[in-house]
């Protein structure tokens, strides 16, 4: 009989976002059931700016959710019918009818020195991609008016920076307070796998909408659907320079001199999002795929009747005519659907299954994951055609997943979030409590430096300087927010049976509550999982 209390602590810390008070006790009744109840077809939770319900004070655990029922419901939905293509066709057909709610299109206001906003978390809805795009367009108009005046330019970019700060805060608040830590970790894994980062002002406004619209709803559906959704979202099209890629033989390509192909999105879908660089494809495959992708773009002009600004738009006059061959398979030219057909095939390749099985195992269990675990995930992936709910279930039921040795080091994001959870703290100030510390620790929110996203490998985050930064941040946070209970009790609540006697002793001997709490957050068993 496995040690339920130890497995409960592992479930909450290794697969979740770290324990809030009472959480380990709750999970220990049925660790796998606690995790399984978080898997649901309708996807991950959505960050909101509205103040969250007051968090319950530390105390006796709430009754366990009916894990069996919830898990049953999630599983009974069965494999997602692979009709992502049909959905996309419907979306293409429906373009023009989806006006974004909750956003006015006021004309560009004259620039005046407005103080930075302080009402974060005020209940304002986070914008859709189309609403965010209007903010960006307004900014672009103002920038034109501001010309070279640096002060005016800074003012014009304020709403965009505020939007990004609000997105980062909303995401951190969700992670700090959710009862479904595994569900959020699973969503964050996919957000990072399909990285869209703020490299310009337009991508800065697009990251939040991208994650909410293209990733979170699909993380427990089929991988094919997730891959297609992420590839088609305007955020991804902007980030990987697809929107202006024009087939040299297309109507626009023939007319506009100096226009042409951009192969960035095609390459990264193959290399990073699906089959991987060692899958046996060539530069010719990348170029062919890039030709198939021409036409996938973003609507940008209110006079274009097909789609509102900020929406996905297939521009037939950008599309390179003709059949394409990618990885040995021919694709007839049916306009915007040609690239979708390639993407759906990439999703189903065995190389994709193998690569993602390893990546998931390495993310949650060990940098160098047990081959048996990788094989288990790969088999589930192949058997179910990439059903992500089934793959998630295979992960949390694998015996290798509960190996008591903690092999993973938390990334800065997970370290900060789990510290907040340990203290029962909900961040309210985006600069001081989210963006600032993450910048210092080297993981700027929405700022992955390259399209392969953030590393989750221990050695990347354990440079001497990085460990000192964790130390100084933890002490600062503990000074402000250390819980008021007895430190040994806090340590037991946060780490459960994973707490070692050595750390317990160090925490007990600390000369103040803040020092005890800082030691707890920095202890090897809190840093690792």
């Amino acid at each position: 009989m496995a040690d339920q209390a130890l497995n409960g602590a592992i479930a909450v810390t290794r697969f979740g976002l770290g324990a809030r008070p009472g959480e380990i006790e709750l999970a220990s009744a049925d660790p796998v059931g606690w995790l399984r109840a978080q898997i649901r077809r309708e996807g991950a939770d959505q960050p909101v700016t509205a103040p969250l319900p007051a968090t319950p004070p530390p105390g006796p655990p709430k009754p366990a959710p009916s894990t069996a029922v919830a898990a049953g419901a999630a599983m009974a939905a069965g494999p997602v019918p692979p009709d992502a293509m049909a959905r996309m066709q419907a979306q293409m057909a429906a373009q023009g009818s989806s006006a974004a709610p909750g956003m006015t299109t006021a004309p560009a206001a004259p620039l005046a020195p407005t103080p930075p906003r302080t009402d974060f978390g005020s209940g304002r809805p986070l914008p859709t991609m189309q609403a965010a795009w209007r903010t960006f367009q307004q900014y672009r108009e103002e920038i034109k008016g501001a010309k070279a005046d640096p002060d005016l330019r800074r003012l014009a970019s304020l709403p965009i920076n505020e939007l990004a700060a609000e997105e980062a805060l909303a995401r951190a608040r969700l992670a700090s307070t959710t009862d479904a830590g595994f569900r959020e970790r699973w969503a964050l894994f996919w957000c990072n796998h399909f990285t869209v980062a703020a490299k310009n002002q337009d991508t800065m406004i697009a990251v939040g909408p991208f994650e909410r619209e293209a990733i979170r709803p699909y993380v427990f559906k089929s991988f094919a659907e997730l891959l297609l959704r992420s590839s088609m979202h305007p955020g991804m099209l902007l980030y990987l320079d697809q929107t202006q890629s024009i087939g040299p033989g297309s109507v626009a390509g023939q007319r506009r001199k100096g226009s042409g192909l951009n192969e960035n999105l095609g390459r990264e879908i193959m290399e990073l999002h699906s089959v991987g660089a060692d899958a046996g494809y060539t530069q010719a495959d990348v170029t062919e795929f890039a030709r198939a992708l021409t036409g996938w773009s973003i609507a940008n002009n209110p006079n274009e009747p097909q789609a509102p600004p900020g929406a996905f738009l297939y521009r037939d006059n950008f599309h390179e005519p003709g059949p394409r061959t990618v990885m040995g398979k021919a694709y007839r030219d049916d306009g915007g659907k040609q690239a979708a057909a390639v993407i759906l095939d990439l999703a189903q390749k065995p190389q994709t299954a193998r690569r993602l099985a390893r990546k998931i195992a390495a993310h949650f269990v060990a940098d160098d994951p047990p081959p048996a675990l990788v094989a288990r995930l790969e088999q589930t992936w192949l058997r179910t055609g990439g059903d992500l709910a089934k793959v998630a279930d295979a992960l949390i039921t694998a015996p290798e997943a509960f190996d008591p040795t903690p092999r993973k080091l938390k990334t800065p994001y997970d370290f900060i979030i789990s510290s907040y959870r340990a203290a029962g703290f909900t961040p309210v100030n985006p600069a001081r409590e989210v963006v600032g510390p993450l910048n210092t620790l080297g993981q700027r929110p929405f700022g992955a430096p390259q399209p392969n996203g953030w590393s989750d490998v221990a050695a990347d985050w354990a440079a001497p300087d990085a460990i000192v930064k964790r130390l100084t941040w933890a002490q600062g946070f503990a000074n402000a927010s250390a819980p008021q209970g007895a430190p040994p009790d806090e340590a037991r609540a946060v780490l459960g049976k994973r707490l070692t006697p050595k750390t317990l002793l160090a925490v007990s001997r600390a000369e103040s509550r803040p020092e005890a709490f800082a030691l707890l957050l920095l202890s090897p068993e809190f840093q690792r999982r």
Binding site: G260, A459, Q475
Partner: protein
């Protein structure tokens, strides 16, 4: 930061030493000659700058005399009257003012067509190869600078420092390197917690040595900055402080820093714009290093490299896609003056690699090897066996230093 990390254990120190012994360069080899060599190389400094995202060498050092340049490049070509002239054939990007000044003083050179040994166009695989120093992908899981630390002669042990919150692969391996970025600051309270932590981390092979080294470095930073906090956004001040680490008594011989944002697929710009802003950063870093190193600049070599170059032709979105050869930059007072390093393959259509990229004429490892031998005195045998195995075709470039 780096994806596709190959699995498998790090090469053990023992393995490396064994291979050095197999090559006949064991400790007994070192007599008086070794000690003399060590003295000669004491005080030498090496700074390696990695430009991540594939820097466009054809904009960094535009070949303004090449008749095909402007035609291929269209609106992103650097006009010959804007470029900072080096000779009739090459210029420097107009933002590289400091590099140009050094070049005129004989303290900077360009390697206009260098590439890693394998023809790959994935950023992440190519960066891995650039940093592991292997002949091919996944041949090694440690960085070539870490192996350089292991290969240094016993009488002349050298250490290294990485600048930034993430540890780059190039320095990863069995020898613990320092790392530093602004914003640490310890006080009495954090020192108490740190002492208790040292005990808790005693059994942790990763966290234990990292914390110990980090605490030392932070104490040193406090001395260097006179207790003043440093703003990480000021690149020049940042590079300046990094340089002061190098020249502190007993300071490291090698520093590594990474600059990102060079992946200019769209709207790359010409003398102004996206790439120009990144090159300003490069120029500021080099200026900050020079100021910070002071009189030690004369003992310094800076080597800057990127994972690959970009397409010779401008693409459809006023940018460039993943290519092959790019331009390395060498700088420092220890350099010997000279012209360009390596040959220029020209941009003639028939000479382009796969009809799209600048063709490589020099292996990046040949430059690294030349610098390690002549500047840091790394033994040739160890260089070939342990630091850059299977690199015989990349003969060290002689006479750089």
């Amino acid at each position: 930061m780096i994806a596709h990390r190959p699995s498998g254990p790090l090469v053990s120190r023992r393995t490396v030493l064994n291979s050095a012994l197999a090559a006949g360069v064991g400790a007994t080899f070192l007599g008086a000659a070794g000690a003399a060599a060590a003295a000669e190389f004491a005080g030498r400094k090496l700074v390696v700058i990695i430009q991540r995202g594939a820097c466009d060498g054809l904009s960094l050092a535009p070949p303004i005399g090449d008749p095909d340049y402007v035609g291929l490049r269209g609106d992103i070509a650097i006009a010959s009257d804007k470029a900072l002239a080096i000779d009739g054939h090459f210029g420097l990007h107009p933002r590289l003012v400091k590099v140009h000044e050094l070049m005129l003083a004989g303290q900077a050179r360009i390697v206009p067509a260098a590439a890693i040994p394998q023809r790959i166009r994935s950023h992440f695989e190519a960066q891995d190869l650039l940093e592991t120093g292997g002949a091919q992908l996944y041949a090694s899981t440690t960085g070539w600078l870490n192996r350089t630390l292991q290969a240094a002669q016993p009488g002349h042990a050298i250490t290294a420092l990485s600048i930034g919150a993430q540890e780059p692969l190039i320095l990863r391996g069995p020898v613990q390197a320092q790392s530093w970025s602004p914003g640490g600051r310890l006080n009495g309270q954090t020192n108490r917690v740190a002492n208790a932590l040292m005990d808790l981390y005693a059994g942790d092979a990763l966290l234990g040595p990292a914390l110990a080294t980090g605490l030392q470095t932070e104490a040193q930073a406090d001395v260097i900055n006179g207790g003043k906090p440093l703003n990480g956004a000021d690149v020049q001040a940042f590079a300046n402080t990094a340089a002061k680490f190098l020249i502190a008594p007993g300071g490291p011989s090698i520093a590594v820093l990474s600059l990102d944002g060079f992946d200019t697929h769209a709207n790359q710009g010409a003398d102004n714009g996206q790439l120009a802003n990144r090159l300003s950063l490069v120029d500021n870093v080099i200026a900050g290093l020079q100021t910070g190193l002071g009189e030690h600049w004369k003992d310094t070599v800076v080597v800057m490299a990127t994972e690959f170059g970009r397409t010779a032709r401008v693409n459809g979105t006023h940018g460039t896609d993943h290519g092959t050869a790019s331009c390395m930059v060498l700088a420092g007072g220890a350099l010997k003056p000279g012209g360009i390093v390596g040959d220029w393959p020209t941009l003639q259509p028939a000479r382009l690699f796969e009809n799209r990229d600048l063709a490589p004429t020099l292996d990046v490892r040949a430059v690294f090897k030349g610098v390690l031998i002549d500047h840091l005195g790394i033994d040739r045998g160890r260089l070939e066996t342990a630091v850059f195995p299977n690199s015989r075709e990349a003969q060290p470039v002689a006479g750089l230093v």
